[in-house]
Symmetry: C2
Subunit: 212 residues, 2 copies
């Protein structure tokens, strides 16, 4: 599985233009960060003026960047997908392969669990969201696959579970509701991770593994 090319090469430009661009990017980041925070407390239908106020910009600026609310929602979601995927190599640098894998799957679990409202928006049929499910998969799948590959190579987990299957399973486990939903999801995802460890080469005496 090849990671998809996500980073576009910046075009050649003058230093001044780069400065303006960097400013614009910072403003856009602040806006998206504000929108993320407001969406998570007030839902994706929160008033635009609340988002603008939090970002320290005018309402007109929000509309200039994102003519439709769905454009803003989609941009926030893309940015969070990118951040979740970017956590994979960062964790891999800091931890043993199986621990990096476990931590990333827990992060992904929280990501899914907190995005339930957004999920409903995603299935609303708005064309702004059309590309998001594919983006979701093509970004997370190689991120997880790289963690799985490293843990398989280290002999810490079995080699017969595909990244996409795990993403689906964790996504389903993360839908647990109720007061203890988050804790339950986390514990069950940990159990799934131990299932990966169980089949590792040398992790358990051969006699313990049964043919099915």
């Amino acid at each position: 599985m090849k990671p998809s090319a996500r980073a576009k090469k910046p075009e050649a430009e003058a230093p001044a233009a780069r400065g303006v661009r960097a400013d614009a990017q910072r403003n856009l980041d602040a806006l998206l960060e504000a929108a993320k925070a407001v969406f998570s407390t007030s839902g994706v239908d929160a008033p635009v003026r609340e988002i603008a106020a939090r970002a320290g910009v005018g309402v007109a600026t929000v509309y200039r960047h994102f003519p439709q609310r769905s454009d803003l929602v989609a941009a926030v979601f893309r940015r969070e997908i990118d951040a979740c995927a970017a956590a994979a190599p960062a964790l891999a640098r800091q931890h043993e392969p199986d621990e990096a894998l476990a931590r990333w799957l827990r992060r992904y679990t929280s990501f899914i669990a907190t995005k339930r409202g957004l999920a409903a928006a995603l299935h609303s049929g708005d064309p702004a969201f059309d590309s998001l499910p594919a983006y979701f998969r093509q970004t997370h799948e190689p991120a997880l696959q790289s963690l799985l590959d490293a843990a398989v190579t280290a002999g810490q987990i079995r080699d017969d579970v595909a990244a996409y299957d795990l993403l689906r399973a964790v996504g389903n486990l993360a839908t647990a509701t109720g007061e203890d939903g988050a804790l339950h999801s986390r514990r069950m995802v940990d159990l799934l991770i131990d299932g990966l460890r169980y089949g590792a080469l040398g992790a358990a005496p051969k006699g313990q593994r049964r043919s099915r």
Copy 2:
């Protein structure tokens, strides 16, 4: 955890009355079996005459037993819950504890997966369904707990996962949709079962288990 008392003691009665009762029970069983089959092919809104025809009884007989459609749906569902729970001791007699556990969880997975339409009915607010979620849990939980206990005693699985947590997790994993949904669910439930095995006393060298 004590299994709830489900079987009511039959009252003392004359042999003739028992014969009539046995006949009535057989008719009722045939009707419920027919309803189950029709619901699974045509949905829970299938015409009553289709169910009556399949059971070889008149439509009036169906209405005499079940004045409302929801009464029939609830009765079919209760019967299936009973059958699923009853499979636990039967599997325990035939297989090693961990294998009995795995087989029961797979059966439970199929049960959930094929009951998606019914689940929607259950949440419709009809009072006929009020007691079903509690019945579902109080019947399946002790059935699974007995399998877990036996596998823990045999040293085949870890002892820190509760039956109810597993029921919830498997229920969530079983919601996978799409062409390969059933296969995916089954494989992920197997992975969860291996997670139970991973923590078994003596299943893996101590060094392989990490403190978290």
